[in-house]
């Protein structure tokens, strides 16, 4: 009895600490958000930003802030959170700390669709802005589905190992197709496609924010509601069946959610990898592995990372995805070395 109460007390304490970490992360998002508003090709002082936000800025200042900077930052917040959540789900259900949305072919599927679109359409600017995100989403979903079904076996459903390996194989195939297609592009089309592939948050206007918002509004609460299922699934197949989880069904649902999250984010933000890997990892180190808290913390750290990377990318004129890779890779290698 006594032992139990001590355990409960320390547990409550730990939980409170974790939640305060989450609040701290949320504050960090706000701070990075504000810094990012100030930084860019044309510097705006915090005072200018404040004035402009409340409608007292010059025309030029409000154009920069409202039409260029803010949508891009808002998209960074959403995309960062989306990738990190998708990564968190994947790491939970595959029990593989190295899982990333790119792993199930989502990034490559979306990229393939974008290249196809660019190759088949003579003029990029003539098409309506919604087309590309939707196509990219379908590409992502299709690739995810292909990976899932190829990894499926009647005897034991989808095993973690097969998912990882099939993901690598499918990605190799898709990138072969992409290379063949890019050879047929003219230089202008090529530059557009390559910039998109490198993950440049290219569609940084309010329309894309509006395209992405509904997805997030549905998916984020859904994923949050599945936190306990994720806790169970991350224990492993045998244990979770023992605990009564409908393993395959829940896993499929969560996988679908991850694909939808990552797919919609890829569609708007371009192929950005590593966020889905690092966000959840940082979060796990900070708050532990209970998904009720972990999911929120992952989303927030994903946002922080992507806003920071995007701000650097704006200053240095390099695609965001490459900045993310430069930050993310060393961390990944470190993880790999110490993973069990």
């Amino acid at each position: 009895m006594a032992a139990k109460s001590i355990y409960a007390a320390s547990d409550t304490k730990r939980r409170a600490k974790a939640w305060s970490t989450v609040v701290g992360l949320a504050l960090l998002v706000v701070v990075v958000f504000i810094v990012s508003m100030n930084t860019g090709y044309i510097r705006l002082s915090p005072l200018d930003v404040g004035k402009t936000l409340f409608g007292f800025g010059t025309d030029k200042q409000s154009l920069i802030l409202f039409q260029f900077r803010l949508p891009r930052i808002v998209i960074s917040v959403l995309v960062g959170a989306g990738f990190a959540l998708a990564g968190c789900i994947l790491q939970g259900i595959t029990r593989n700390p190295l899982a990333d949305p790119g792993l199930i072919g989502v990034n490559s599927g979306a990229s393939l669709m974008v290249i196809l679109f660019v190759a088949l359409r003579p003029s990029i600017s003539a098409s309506p802005p919604y087309t590309l995100p939707f196509l990219a989403f379908f590409g992502a979903a299709a690739a995810g589905a292909v990976v899932y079904f190829l990894a499926y076996k009647k005897s034991d459903g989808v095993s973690v190992l097969r998912l990882v390996l099939v993901g690598i194989a499918v990605q190799a195939g898709i990138s072969a197709a992409i290379i063949v297609l890019t050879q047929r592009l003219n230089p202008e089309q090529y530059q557009f496609a390559a910039t998109w592939l490198a993950g440049s948050l290219w569609g940084a206007n309010w329309k894309f924010v509006l395209t992405l918002l509904p997805w997030m509004a549905v998916l984020v609460p859904f994923v949050m509601s599945k936190a306990r299922t994720l806790n169970v699934l991350s224990l492993g197949d045998h244990l979770s069946v023992g605990l009564g989880a409908r393993l395959q069904r829940e896993r499929l649902l969560l996988l679908l959610a991850a694909v939808a999250l990552a797919g919609s984010c890829v569609a708007v933000g371009g192929a950005i990898s590593f966020i889905g890997l690092i966000g959840p990892h940082l979060a796990r180190r900070l708050v532990g592995s209970r998904h009720e808290i972990l999911l929120a913390a992952s989303a927030l750290s994903g946002s922080v990372l992507l806003i920071a990377a995007d701000t650097i990318s704006r200053v240095s004129d390099t695609p965001t995805g490459i900045i993310v890779a430069i930050i993310g890779a060393p961390y990944f290698l470190y993880l790999l070395a110490r993973a069990r």
Binding site: L98, L165, T182, P187, P319, A329
Partner: protein
């Protein structure tokens, strides 16, 4: 002498391990004949069809006045020879890797070694564009060495070593990183499209100057792999077993790594990224000739060369008049093969 008899003993003691010298000899002789035939075909077929007899003449009785002979000598021969050399190099690099690491998924492409070489080459293209090929190849080696060191380092640093799956993951992440960096450089310096073709493999631009250089490197690498083959067989029984028999595991692995990076680095610097040859060929060869690397290494070399020469020929014939990247063509066979291995969950070996 001592190692020899002990090596034989190890074979005898493990009943499951079998070799098929007969099958291996058939592959060596038949494969060589097929290779010669397909190389001749590859030289004769192209934008301008040239008869096989003219090919024969151009090789043995060269006449500088004939355009056909000029085409064959200056364009098609170096290309075909480069294909054969690099195909053999990739296949042997793959089989040495698979043998040493006992990892069925080991392949210079999958593990990011090709990407390492490619990254260094991208840097060269962007910053020092006028390097001679003889200098460029050193950068390629350096890149391959960097990636190999990374993978080996991870393997030795990580707790409990790298399982096949984790190694594959590590490799795909390392190549993702290096590719992202190469792409960043390519975007910034607008060398993208030219870099891309090369990134996905193609022997179209190969000239004698390059062949002259890689001939020595790849030839030396293949020879060294042959000399090392006996020890690779022992390592493929497991590090502990090999050490117990008296093999200096650390040294053999180091030499093996150097061989791999020379073979892969030299090949990538000429034909770009070609994955899957190093994955598929050793598997097929092992299935055909058994477990002794004294047979696997030479047979892999021949089958790899054959595969690449034929793939290059196919790449020219898919859409006559333009080149399909040969790496994409190989991926058509390679991806299903990898899927097959994936569904077996990387077992075997």
């Amino acid at each position: 002498m001592a190692t020899h008899s002990i090596g034989e003993g190890a074979h005898a003691s493990a009943k499951k391990l079998r070799t098929r010298p007969l099958a291996a000899s058939v592959i060596l002789i038949g494969g060589l004949a097929l290779l010669a035939l397909s190389m001749a075909l590859s030289i004769s077929i192209g934008a301008k069809a040239i008869g096989l007899s003219a090919v024969w003449d151009a090789v043995w009785h060269f006449n500088g006045d004939l355009t056909d002979h000029q085409i064959i000598r200056s364009l098609r021969m170096p290309r075909t020879i480069a294909c054969a050399l690099t195909g053999a190099a990739f296949a042997v690099a793959g089989s040495v890797m698979q043998g040493m690491t006992r990892n069925p998924l080991a392949d210079p492409g999958l593990l990011g070694i090709n990407a390492g070489a490619g990254f260094m080459l991208a840097i060269c293209f962007a910053f020092i564009p006028h390097l001679l090929f003889g200098q460029l190849i050193w950068m390629s080696f350096a890149g391959a060495a960097g990636a190999t060191a990374l993978i080996y380092g991870l393997g030795s640093l990580s707790r409990g070593g790298l399982t096949p799956v984790r190694l594959a993951l590590a490799g795909s992440a390392v190549s993702a990183l290096l590719l992202a960096l190469s792409e960043g450089i390519a975007l910034k310096y607008r060398i993208g499209q030219s870099l891309d073709f090369w990134l996905f493999g193609g022997a179209a631009g190969v000239r004698w100057a390059q062949v002259d250089v890689i001939l020595w490197w790849i030839g030396g690498g293949l020879l060294a792999a042959m000399l090392l083959a006996r020890y690779i067989t022992l390592l493929s029984l497991g590090d502990e077993t090999a050490a117990g028999i008296g093999v200096r595991v650390g040294w053999i692995k180091l030499i093996g790594a150097v061989i791999i990076l020379i073979l892969a680095g030299a090949s990538v610097s000429v034909v770009g990224f070609v994955s899957f040859i190093g994955l598929m060929v050793p598997h097929i060869t092992r299935y055909l000739v058994g477990v002794s690397y004294r047979w696997i290494v030479p047979c892999s070399a021949i089958l790899g060369a054959l595969l690449f020469v034929l793939a290059d020929l196919g790449a020219r014939m898919v859409r006559p008049g333009s080149e399909t990247p040969v790496g994409a063509l190989i991926a058509i066979i390679g991806v299903p093969f990898l899927l097959y291995l994936a569904r077996r969950e990387g077992r075997e070996l």
